[in-house]
């Protein structure tokens, strides 16, 4: 299996083979995380631009560590320090960054589709590090890697996602990835955050929305928690106490899941809100493995995109763009 791609903007358009390839490519980089000396020279002389137009701590650090361990240099742009507040357009900001000749742009932005929009105008690889409430492809990949390590497979699992699914880019990337491996999804949370439309966002993947956590946990192999975004609690106005009462994952509720079930959380966690410390720190929790795997997955992504180690074959999301065609489309 080989694929040739220029950007990593979303997991939705990728095939199971392409996703497996990305996961397999992450394995050697997982090994490197265990070495006392973690720095490679693979991308020495290359530069990765990290443009975070929305605040982020762990994803930015994780991509930064990934670049650094591959031997690449990084350029950092953070929203608060950027020109955006001075009225510069996103495209102008990105063109300025690009004029400093990075070899890859890793970008996070609060607007869904902003990375697609930017990628249409650039001739270097663009990696989506989270766009609005659309997708977070590297998170989807690191979650899948974590599940595969723990359960031995990502095929045909019962996956339950708890929380604010409507506004979660993590949930969408997970659904689009694991759905292609026969996983069945149960989405659960307050009805305002779990609209029925979600059942149809990935044709071919069984997705059901339920509103009782007990029902959602029955027989689950994987439980994915989403951070309860306190800023979202204002829209709609929802009581945090009600949320805890109805949807908090605690040890008693967890017993309804399959005995080997694992618990994932993309962080940052609100201990005592969506998850109890007992569960978060318990043997079924994978939260720190997720973080470690995040660096490995991001090393694989940067390595593949920058070194051009991918081979022939075309794909819409892993977009094939020659410089000529990228310019012509503008």
């Amino acid at each position: 299996m080989s694929i040739k791609f220029r950007d990593l903007l979303a997991l939705e358009p990728l095939t199971a083979d392409e996703l497996s390839f990305l996961l397999d490519q992450s394995k050697p980089f997982q090994e490197i995380q265990k070495h006392p000396l973690k720095k490679l020279a693979t991308l020495r002389g290359k530069t990765v631009a990290l443009a975070f137009f929305e605040t982020s701590t762990r994803t930015r650090i994780s991509f930064g560590a990934a670049a650094s361990r591959l031997g690449a240099d990084t350029m950092n742009l953070q929203a608060e320090a950027s020109s955006l507040k001075k009225g510069e357009t996103l495209l102008d900001t990105v063109f300025n960054l690009n004029a400093m000749k990075p070899d890859c742009l890793v970008m996070r932005h609060a607007a869904s589709g902003a990375t697609d929009y930017v990628a249409r105008h650039l001739d270097i690889p663009v990696v989506n590090a989270g766009d609005g409430t659309h997708e977070h492809p590297s998170q989807g990949l690191l979650d899948a890697l974590t599940i595969r390590d723990r359960l031995g497979t990502i095929k045909n699992l019962n996956v339950t996602i708890l929380g604010d699914i409507l506004h979660s880019r993590v949930a969408r990337s997970n659904i689009h990835l694991l759905g292609k491996f026969g996983c069945k999804f149960t989405l659960c949370g307050p009805a305002m955050w779990v609209p029925r439309e979600l059942e149809k966002i990935a044709p071919g993947t069984p997705i059901r929305c339920v509103y009782r956590i007990e029902e959602a946990l029955d027989g689950a192999d994987v439980i994915m928690m989403l951070r309860v975004q306190t800023e979202r609690l204002d829209d709609p106005p929802l009581s945090a106490n009600d949320y805890v009462l109805l949807y908090q994952l605690n040890a008693v509720r967890l017993r309804r899941a399959s005995p080997n079930a694992i618990v994932l959380h993309p962080g940052p966690m609100n201990r005592g809100v969506e998850i109890t410390p007992e569960v978060a720190d318990g043997p079924q929790s994978c939260v720190l493995e997720q973080v470690t795997n995040g660096v490995a997955v991001r090393m694989a992504i940067l390595y593949l995109l920058i070194s051009g180690a991918t081979e022939s074959g075309t794909h819409p999301a892993l977009e094939v763009k020659s410089k000529e065609s990228a310019n012509a489309s503008d």
Binding site: T89, L90, G113, A202
Partner: protein, 424 residues
């Protein structure tokens, strides 16, 4: 004088569909007669309309010409040139300019500019409230004297039910239609497209169909309360259409318009490209089906473009940040022919009605091809193949979802007050 020969005259007012010649004298139609029977007067120009349709001049009830105040996106000159290309002989300009057209001096400015630089007639619509802020009623009577044809706070609804009721009462006494951009702004807040599977998949915030239909219900009941002439702008939802149908069945003086983009595209067509962002947003598949049915059965009174130019610097940004609106003048006829006539859903007569007598009735005027009427005519081909290239548009803006689309049928000549405003 101008003699239009050998055309197929389609005049919905009299249900005429016949081979007729039309003689124009100055700003009026002088004579209409069987093909070949009108002798060409000395010195008359001849326009050979063989194989073409000769229709009353198209009227667009809903356009944004951006002047005064946003001339980098459009001017009366550029906008009306684009309108003429699209076959429109008159466009109603919405009042959300800078300043807002909420007093007679702005109205007069627009009319003066139109007279000086306009290719086609410009019929200003006045704001319903001062600054369209939804607080005090604007100087509607003074604007009427200056030349407005309707009132609207377009871009948003009249802010409160109480004010809407008062505006309707007042406009009833002035015999002016009230055009409503019906939207519950709380339901639509922050939304950038229609709520549905596509918005959920794309992670773009959606507004439900009810954001429109809730306000349509309010406005229709106020029309019943006041007896006002209410016109629902850019109606997009099935639920809204059903309510208009109900209101008409009760004999209310209610009308509505549908845009070409709403009868052509649906929410599933939306991509991360702001040329798909407009308000109301592209609706669901079943809404479009309902609109097509309403266009056919008479529930919909007019096709209106909601031509909404935004210069590239404003529109070429992230989807969330881009302003709402798309160009409409030059693609309206082509889309109507494609979606309504060539698809077999509507007769050519009915389509012409939606561009002519339909909008005229909303404004309370006549539109027909008879001696003594204004010499406004739209001459178009149902066959001519062409491709819309937005970069060639006279408009100052480029925000069209129909760029590079191939069409069959186009305006060939647009005649305004006896003058050829556009000829292919």
């Amino acid at each position: 004088m101008l003699l239009i020969k050998n055309g197929r005259v389609i005049d919905p007012a009299s249900k005429t569909d016949a081979a007729l010649d039309v003689l124009l004298d100055g700003e009026k139609i002088k004579e209409v007669g069987p093909a070949g029977k009108i002798a060409s007067p000395q010195g008359a120009e001849i326009l050979d309309a063989s194989g073409l349709i000769v229709a009353p001049g198209f009227i667009d009830l809903h356009a944004h010409l951006r002047e005064p105040g946003q001339e980098s996106s459009e001017t009366i000159e550029t906008g009306t040139r684009a309108a003429a290309r699209g076959g429109f002989t008159a466009v109603c300009s919405m009042p959300n300019t800078k300043p807002v057209n909420d007093n007679a001096s702005v109205t007069r400015f627009i009319l003066d500019r139109a007279k000086a630089a306009g290719s086609v007639r410009v019929w200003p619509i006045g704001a319903a409230s001062v600054g369209s802020k939804g607080e005090a009623i604007a100087e509607i009577a003074a604007m009427k004297e200056a030349g407005i044809v309707a009132v609207s706070d377009d871009g948003k609804p009249i802010a409160t039910a109480k004010l809407a009721r008062q505006v309707m009462d007042y406009c009833r006494s002035l015999d002016l239609p009230v055009i409503e951009h019906s939207e519950d702004v709380s339901l639509a807040a922050g939304a950038v497209m229609r709520e549905g599977v596509t918005s959920t998949r794309l992670g773009l915030r959606g507004m439900p169909a009810a954001a429109e239909s809730v306000c349509v219900a309010r406005d229709l009941q106020l029309a019943e309360l006041t007896g006002a002439r209410l016109h629902v702008a850019h109606l997009s939802a099935k639920a809204s259409l059903e309510q208009v149908r109900w209101a008409k069945s009760r004999g209310l003086r209610v009308s509505c318009e549908v845009t070409p983009h709403h009868f052509t595209l649906i929410d599933e067509d939306v991509q991360y490209d702001s040329k798909f962002k407009m308000n109301p947003p592209l609706a669901a598949r079943e809404d479009r089906e309902a609109l097509l049915a309403g266009l056919a059965d008479g529930t919909v009174d007019a096709i209106a473009t909601d031509h909404a130019p935004h210069e590239p610097a404003l529109k070429d940004v992230e989807f969330d940040r881009a302003p709402f609106g798309v160009l409409g003048f030059e693609t309206a006829l082509g889309l109507a022919l494609e979606q309504l006539v060539q698809s077999g859903r509507l007769s050519l007569m009915r389509m012409v009605e939606l561009f002519t007598t339909g909008p005229a009735r909303v404004l309370g005027i006549e539109r027909n091809i008879v001696s003594g009427q204004p010499a406004d005519l739209t001459i178009f081909s149902t066959e001519r193949a062409w491709t819309y290239n937005v970069k060639d548009s006279p408009s100052k803006s480029r925000n069209s979802p129909f760029d590079a689309r191939a069409f069959k049928g186009a305006a060939v000549a647009t005649i305004v007050a006896g003058r050829v405003a556009y000829k292919q």
